[in-house]
Symmetry: C2
Subunit: 270 residues, 2 copies
DNA sequence: GCGGAACATTAACCTATGTTATGGCCCCCG
DNA sequence: CGGGGGCCATAACATAGGTTAATGTTCCGC
């Protein structure tokens, strides 16, 4: 897929992500760089956003891991998704009154924050970026929907296997995994909250996977020994990640538009 | 909230929904009406979209109920969300290769379909509409995330109660519920698939709710006798529906933009 | 008005997963 | 170098919810 230029100028994770949907122009690139100008660091276990708070700034995760999670009044908690570099936090902050979820770091992170008005500017001035953002939002929703399928209809073993394959895939795309192994800064407690299971049962289930030789774990290092087998166990169908697509589909949509517009309008039977 | 003009011209559910985010101009209204020009009917239990199929047209549900659902190869199924009038189906069809979910009608419906290029046109020519669409997409994702919390961390009783309150709220906004009662064209099987439970257990749970006098059911008519109590049982916190917001927040965002642009740019410390 | 399909209801029984409890390991801090 | 906190591991036991199966009910086509 996309190869990460070794940390150089436009190689921010957000830039990388969006440019896998459209080829970015110089102007668009400049706009994105400007967005990420104001960089800050946060330690692990810091809340970047707290459920119920008024929304403030929006930000881009540039480095590190975080989780998006929701809690019930009595403390039960559900991890909605893992936030990886290139993901945006609170993108619609100016449209929603309060945050309905929290975002908490799992590792030390680097975030770039910007005033939400920038998003409005983006919608006005950069329709292709806007569409790319909408695209990535839709993909994110697809991931949440897939997790919903897991919690609703997969067994514990299937869920764990599915999550591991999903993370492996997502991390591979951003060069954070090499041949089946990656760093997983996730305690079993957090995994439990992501999978709707108890800690103990996550532990049991992980053990089964280890015993059957499908994965190996040492500390935060996780190695998948047999991806295809693990994918079978987890009933993993990567449709939902929408990784397979004709390159530059959005690109083409935008240029086709000129050509097709006349046709469409002339079909009008008024 | 928004009162539905009695079926007259701009009163399409989509128009209504979007105009609760921004006050729509004449041009924008015209564009939306044109979108919904090509109307068709479908019976109950018809697939409007099938998981794995190549995406084709996009469409707007104008009347009736449908469900968005995903299935595992072995037939287990999860309902992701209920599709109500004003919701768009397959909005990003030109960006994704294949559908990762199905959409099936629960009642006879009226849908308007349009070529996906129209969405591109919309992003180019109507940034405010684009933002409104993004907004409603984000709200939809928020609903899926809340359902995820249900499946992961709420008990069966809580889930059922929560779902009923959610539907009541959503239907009230579009004038499809009056003082606590509404028509629910949903079998217990579908409810089970939405809540990650078995049919039998949905039945048991519904009975508990009836026995405790919180709801009444007769045929497809569902009456909530005590909303606030039911909301307590379901740990319902309507934050996620994002109904409470300053009116025309998006509106304001768009006009503020002009004013703030200068300030933001001048902050630039280059 | 009869037969059958689709759906709701209930009971009896079973199992996947949750709970509670205990011990071990590792690492950091004093 | 000793102690405590966070995390992992396992065992024993408890239960929410799943499964199977049998019976009703409603409605629709003929």
């Amino acid at each position: 897929m996309v190869r990460a230029p070794a940390g150089k100028a436009p190689g921010s994770p957000l830039w990388l992500k969006l440019s896998s949907y459209v080829t970015l122009t110089r102007d668009e690139t400049a706009f994105l760089l400007e967005l990420e100008r104001c960089v800050a660091r946060q330690p692990a276990r810091a809340d970047l956003l707290r459920q119920g708070d008024r929304y403030g700034e929006a930000s881009v995760l540039r480095d590190g891991w975080a989780i998006r999670h929701k809690a019930l009044p009595d403390g039960r908690r559900q991890v909605v998704n893992f936030v990886l570099p290139g993901d945006i936090i609170g993108i619609y902050s100016n449209l929603f009154e309060c945050a309905d979820h929290s975002v908490t770091t799992l590792t030390p992170v680097e975030v770039a924050s910007f005033p939400p008005e920038r998003i409005v500017a983006l919608f006005r001035g950069f329709p292709r970026l806007a569409a790319a953002l909408a695209w990535s939002g839709a993909r994110e929703e697809a991931m949440v929907a897939e997790r919903l399928l897991s919690l609703g209809r997969r067994t514990a073993l299937e869920r764990v296997a599915h999550l591991i394959v999903e993370l492996l895939r997502r991390l591979s795309v951003v060069n954070m995994a090499q041949d089946g192994h990656f760093t997983l800064p996730v305690t079993q407690e957090i995994m439990a909250d992501a999978l709707g299971l108890s800690i103990v049962h996550v532990n049991r289930t992980l053990r089964r996977l280890r015993d059957s030789g499908l994965v190996e774990v040492s500390g935060q290092r996780l190695t998948v020994k047999d991806v295809s087998q693990l994918a079978v166990v987890g009933q993993f169908d990567e449709l939902y990640l929408h990784l397979i697509r004709a390159p530059d589909q959005l690109e083409r949509a935008f240029s086709d538009h000129q050509a097709k517009r006349r046709t469409i309008l002339s079909t009008d039977p008024t």
